[in-house]
Symmetry: C4
Subunit: 295 residues, 4 copies
């Protein structure tokens, strides 16, 4: 009887198993970004909706970065745990991932971020309804839109905002490349997510004041789209002098610069143990597999 149930379960499982590697990776990136948004934006939600009683800048600096770490633990072994189109972009640009996968990764990440926003809204539905008399506001002391997407500080010009998103993502990618570079110091396998989490904690406590430091187009655009549809209105796109495109475009520029800096300052000068081997191999093969395995 029991063995029969198991048999049935097995075949049920077998029917679900994805043969396509890309499909698996999309599923993984969707789930990872989903987790990152629910738990990461959740830490902002708890601080905002409790008006500081159950959270604040410190809990956000613990909560959001470690939410990213947990997302990488769930997805790292399957899709590399990018959960960020700018990271996927850097991986493609520097030969760590095939370009053909790029749009699929980004699509899965955007969907995951959108779905995560919806679930977070559901988990805190009663809190949202009681926070400002049920009103979903973008500006003012009862604003809640910044739980989901980032908005600029009043003093910030668009030029400075753009420069900051470029610089922040640049630092993100420099250190991420270092963390996964086994010819550098390297982080022991299985602890990279925590190192990345600490990196994001640093970036959030250092460069987070201008505009919340998204550094991730999916993390910002997906939730912003959700708020536009869920009741905050399409002013989420026009707010802050049409700020919305800054955390979408800036991170791609920063990722390119950051990757280039790491390659030029550190990577190319390191002795390559496989240099002779590569010279003999066909041109298309030498992707960095150690790195690809986790990023």
């Amino acid at each position: 009887m029991q063995s029969e149930t198991r048999q049935r379960k097995k075949s049920w499982k077998q029917r679900l198993v994805l043969k396509s590697s890309l499909a698996k990776e999309m599923l993984s990136e969707f789930l990872g970004t989903f987790i990152m948004i629910v738990l990461g934006c959740g830490s902002v939600a708890q601080a905002v909706l409790s008006r500081g009683h159950f959270g604040g800048i410190v809990t956000i600096i613990i909560g959001f970065p470690m939410a990213v770490a947990m997302a990488i633990y769930v997805t790292g072994g399957v899709s590399g745990g990018h959960v960020n189109p700018a990271v996927s972009f850097a991986m493609c640009l520097f030969g760590r991932m095939k370009w053909v996968k790029f749009p699929f990764y980004v699509g899965a990440q955007l969907l995951g971020a959108f779905a995560g926003s919806a679930v977070l809204f559901g988990i805190y539905y009663d809190a949202f309804m009681s926070f400002a008399g049920g009103k979903l506001l973008i500006v003012g002391e009862n604003a809640t839109a910044h739980i989901f997407a980032t908005y600029p500080a009043p003093y910030l010009s668009l030029a400075n905002a753009f420069a900051e998103q470029v610089a922040s993502t640049m630092f993100l990618i420099i250190v991420v490349f270092a963390i996964f570079d086994s010819r550098n110091l390297g982080v022991p396998r299985g602890l990279e997510p925590i190192a990345v989490g600490l990196l994001i904690a640093v970036l959030t406590s250092s460069l987070g004041m201008n505009s919340g430091n998204a550094m991730n187009p999916a993390r910002d655009l997906g939730p912003r789209l959700f708020t536009a549809l869920a009741g905050w209105g399409f002013e989420v796109f026009t707010a802050g002098n049409n700020f919305w495109w800054i955390p979408v475009v800036g991170p791609f520029v920063g990722a390119a610069i950051g990757g280039l800096i790491y390659v030029v300052f550190i990577e190319i000068h390191q002795p390559d143990p496989k240099a002779d081997l590569e010279a003999e191999q066909p041109e298309d093969k030498p992707e960095k597999h150690e790195l690809d395995a986790v990023m």
Copy 2:
């Protein structure tokens, strides 16, 4: 003389050694849940009883999750360090533990949580007596019942409360399954408790505002029963519109969904190194031993 003492000690030890594997595991789960409650609820006690002078949301977000990590260090090698009936439930449901052990694990966890509450009450006895003139209250600014069990925020409906406990435990189990999945990225052996601690820190800082985010029937029911008997009265069960059953039932539902999501989204698509071997073996054997060792 010294060697004689040792001999006597040895035979005293030998008489205590448990032959039954299940008895050992029950002892271990009892001790682990006991430690988790004294140190975890202790961090809430310090924040509440000092009226914020020696603790607050940040110390609780450090204290409670790391109390869970320490409980897993004490019990991980013997019973898997569940210290949570919802975790034991997920382990059984997904073939990582035998169902026959389930009621014994849950019993030991409930007893440990009850005993831990009593010891915590003893350690802070003078503080409790001086806090509200010796009164043990459930509601109001002098309430202390929420040191032990969780209570809902005023705005929270039962439906939202239940959905939140389901969702929180779902995320807990998804990431716990990932942390112990050696075919995914995986956490180095001996560091899983810290990764689980960080996971609970994230969940507490993100989804903790609605009702304190128990995610663990034993952690909530054991201490609630203690407060009912120790002087707070049986209103601890009727408070919050009979809230008490939400953190008891919700986590089991969430654990099932979370486990299913991890299996469907990630686990079944991974290449199984033992696939051929399993096909030849009898149906009852292939339990996941790597995972069982620590969870």
Copy 3:
């Protein structure tokens, strides 16, 4: 020329090298306790002397435990990194260290704690002089004696204080034994100090409100003696109804109980890989070397 200098340096070094293992270990325990007190009590000093501007309960919960971790990194490979007479006591009581070493360890720890207090006083001399008009006070809002030693909260009876020190040290030893138990889950070699640091962070955020949670006779008595001599006066011993002996005696009792609980609940039930070997060896040898190496 250079090689000559090196030769001379070498012989200078050789003259300093200690042949006696015990002397090395005493030097190590002295240095470790010294570091722990300067940096650990230093975190309390920064919070108190800045009147909360540069520190508070959160920075103390980060600072003191991680000061212990750093002390263990410095001493772990030489003397086991006890930096605590109660830990040394538990090691002797449960056969992990020879009793003959015990008084030497305790002496070195006390001296290190006293010397550390003096250096800390020196580093913050100007701050002490400007804090309360140069007065060194034990009670009141300008008190600074609790920077060095622990004092009970006003509500606390001696009985409760003693029970708390016993319980706190009991939990300390239970988890420390688990952290270093390679037959349990175990912490990877070289990371035990951080796990112990996290453990102390938990204990400080959970059981720290009654009396500052010393859990260490040297950490409390050494600095208290220093304050008595340095200007606070011998009222540091009579304060709090002669509280001083509680954190001296309580930890020894707690260490014995904690070690016993770990042995009875966990250790003796685990399969012993060396069981057959031990049976054949002489009685005096089988000390636990894995544990001794770091504790």
Copy 4:
């Protein structure tokens, strides 16, 4: 076509590859110190410029130390990740690095710190302009100079300030030597940066009140020079009774004392596994390569 691009890219890379080991190391130290200043001083900037709304002592204690950790991850495998002239000094003084490299390391570190200050100023340009009506002040409640360099507390004498910088750097070097000493307990390879980060977190929360605890001549002098030129004026050098030289000279003295203490108290007493080997080798060779690899 694609293979042709790659070929061109390769030769472009090959032209950039540095043959000189020292040049690589200078590039690495420059980049590391640059990252440390942007992200480390950035955490101070966020706390100061947001007037405490997005940062404070806790976020600085997380942000600055972990910025150092990230800098070490980027540079550790190439130049040892000193990012601090006092660390380079100790490495040379105790035979872990050749003296000839010392001035080059220090130069690269100073340049990196200066460049990092400029980039940080750019990232927060709008915030600086709006903070005090565009004025760049050194003293008063609108001061921003202490975002970059350290300044003494009002109560602090120069003698005490110097003693504190000596003592702080002494503790820094004692524990850094321990962290990288594979004959002591040792930190697993790839986790040293996090251990160093925790060490700096302890030092910042314990000894940070007197003058911000620079412990690093480059971290202090580079940014101070930048502020002098960028608009704060050369009063940044005369402020605090010409304080500027204290965090430049003090750390070198402290590094020498700290290294000596570690060697005399711990290192020379440890059994040397290569003792016999060294005796036969020429005098110039036996540098500690394990240590050099990361420091």
